[in-house]
Amino acid sequence: MNPTAAAIRAGITRGRIELRQTFTNFQDLWGYLFPTVALLVVMTLMRGSTIPGTEFSRGTMTLPSVLGVSVAFGSLINLAQILTIEREDGTLLRAKAVPGGMLGYLVGKIVMISGTVLVNVAIVLIPGAFLFDGLDLGDAGAWLTLLWVLVLGLVATMPIGAIIGSLFPNARNLGAVMLPIMGLVAISGIFYPITGFPAWLQWIAQVFPIYWLGLGMRSALLPDGMQAVEIGESWRYWETAGVLGVWAVIGLVVAPMVLRRMARRESGSSVAARREKALQRIA
């Protein structure tokens, strides 16, 4: 068999095994379920209030936006976190010691992250469909939009996660990126229509993929009337595809370079040094 094909196949197997591992692990399951349950509770509490100027429930509007955020979080933050952890504990070095191992590792991560994001979307969407009225789920077009926004969103955010994960020396420092990302979530019109914010804040939000993921999900799942509270009173499909596409292209160009540079520096002694440091911290 062709070595590259073999490595890709091994990577897909790897992703499948890791998905099974993460979904049979109590701690990991709790990590997926807790935020979902919390969000569902928050959204349920928001059911009663309506979007200003409409009769539409804020809970229903928030659900697709939250889906968008969970795609961004699930791929970007998770991948960054896994990369720093697995660099620290030597998983990456092992991959490097095996022929085609880095390719297999990367393919495995893509499969694993995509799988967990899909599950995350499902565990918000399925109970959400029963809890909230007004979601546009009966229509094939809605599912098609959901699908392309999801896929493009993954391709746009995963490389950013890979870059962040490669640049940060350890998982504990990742807190530094969590804060700005939380800030972005706050200004991206997830819990409140973005049109209520000052224009300069809207511009900042529109640079990053989180806003567009939220918008894309809303465009898929909300009735067309809800465009009224969006910027330009439109779902802006082209802009959504455009901005996410640009992030995807930049990411796919830059991430391999950063990943290669990071991988090149891995060696037994760099892992040993990090282990030493981590053990000192515990002691």
């Binding site: 490595a7 095994i17 591992q21 191992g101 891995e266 037994g268 282990r275």
Partner: protein
């Protein structure tokens, strides 16, 4: 002491088409610090080499350069006929690296992980049969345990299994038996013998256990201060250092012990003087540990010139 007895094939003899490892004048500099100042050695196919040296002597740096995990500053390095800095994936498939593990792949089960890693080698050859491999490292009972549930020694055996799953031609072992109990150590030594004798695997190992080095290695390299200060069999090294041997005997029911640098001469004299009165004669050569400590002590005492001189003599 005769230098001739020690002579091994000189590293500069011929470009090593046959050689598993050929390192010439390897240098490594971090900033302004020279970690390696001209390391030269080689390994023939199927040879087992032990690299000894004090902490910070550059052992790990040397191994990492050979593994292709670190770029060198200067020198010529050939590992299985390729420059490790430019080694491709098919080269990688012929190299086995036993890494010091920590907590990677903690959720993976032993057999599952080996099976998975084995598939990467399939395009290049026939990896080990996984059950056979699990048995060879003595983990059959634990084959379905998660890596995080293994004891330190079991985990280390898993590391070894990972290193050899692709049937490497050349295996790097960095302190392979740290944390092994005596039984596991013995089994590991058997495995190393099996790899080198039956499969003709070339092995380069580092260890702090000199007894282990003596048992496993055909040749011992001592790295200190960034150069190889000794290269030879354990036996040749102890003769070269002419460390003191201990002569014990009894005469008229009384026991004697005498340390000497010239055991043969001393015993000859002893017999000439007392003849048949001598009984229970024993001559104990210095152990590799004595030799090693003497070598490093001499070296660190600033006897670098002498060490270098005798190294050159040996290579003449």
């Amino acid at each position: 002491m005769s230098v001739g007895e020690l002579s091994v094939p000189t590293p500069h003899a011929e470009p090593g088409a046959e050689r598993a490892l050929d390192v010439r004048d390897l240098r490594m500099r971090y900033g302004t610090v020279d970690v390696l100042r001209g390391v030269t050695f080689h390994a023939e196919r199927g040879e087992v080499l032990a690299l000894l040296g004090p902490n910070g002597a550059g052992k790990t740096t040397t191994i990492e350069i050979l593994e292709g995990f670190r770029m060198r500053s200067a020198g010529e390095v050939s590992v299985l006929g390729s420059d490790p800095a430019k080694g491709d994936e098919s080269w990688r498939a012929r190299i086995g690296v036993v890494l010091q593990s920590w907590r990677d792949h903690s959720k993976w089960r032993v057999r599952e992980l080996l099976q998975h890693l084995g598939t990467y080698y399939e395009p290049y050859g026939t990896p080990w049969d996984i059950d056979e491999l699990v048995a060879a490292v003595g983990l059959t009972e634990h084959a379905h345990k998660k890596a995080s549930r293994l004891s330190g020694g079991q985990r280390r055996r898993l590391d070894v299994a990972i290193g050899i799953v692709g049937r490497p031609r050349l295996l790097f072992l960095d302190e392979p038996t740290a944390g092994f109990d005596p039984h596991a150590r013995r089994e590991f030594h058997d495995l190393v013998h099996r790899l080198s004798d039956l499969d003709d695997t070339t092995i380069l190992l580092t260890t702090h256990d000199l007894d282990e080095a003596e048992k496993l290695a055909d040749r011992i390299l001592v790295l200190a201060g960034g150069t190889i200060i000794a290269d030879g069999s354990a036996d040749a090294l102890s003769r070269r250092m002419a460390t003191e041997a201990e002569v014990r005997w009894s005469r008229d029911g009384e026991r004697f012990v005498h340390p000497t640098r010239d055991a043969t001469g001393f015993v000859r004299q002893l017999f000439a003087q007392y003849g048949e009165e001598i009984a229970d004669l024993e001559v104990r050569r210095a152990s590799l540990e004595d030799t090693y400590l003497a070598l490093v002590r001499d070296f660190e005492a600033g006897d670098q010139e002498a060490a270098a001189r005798s190294f050159e003599e040996r290579n003449r």
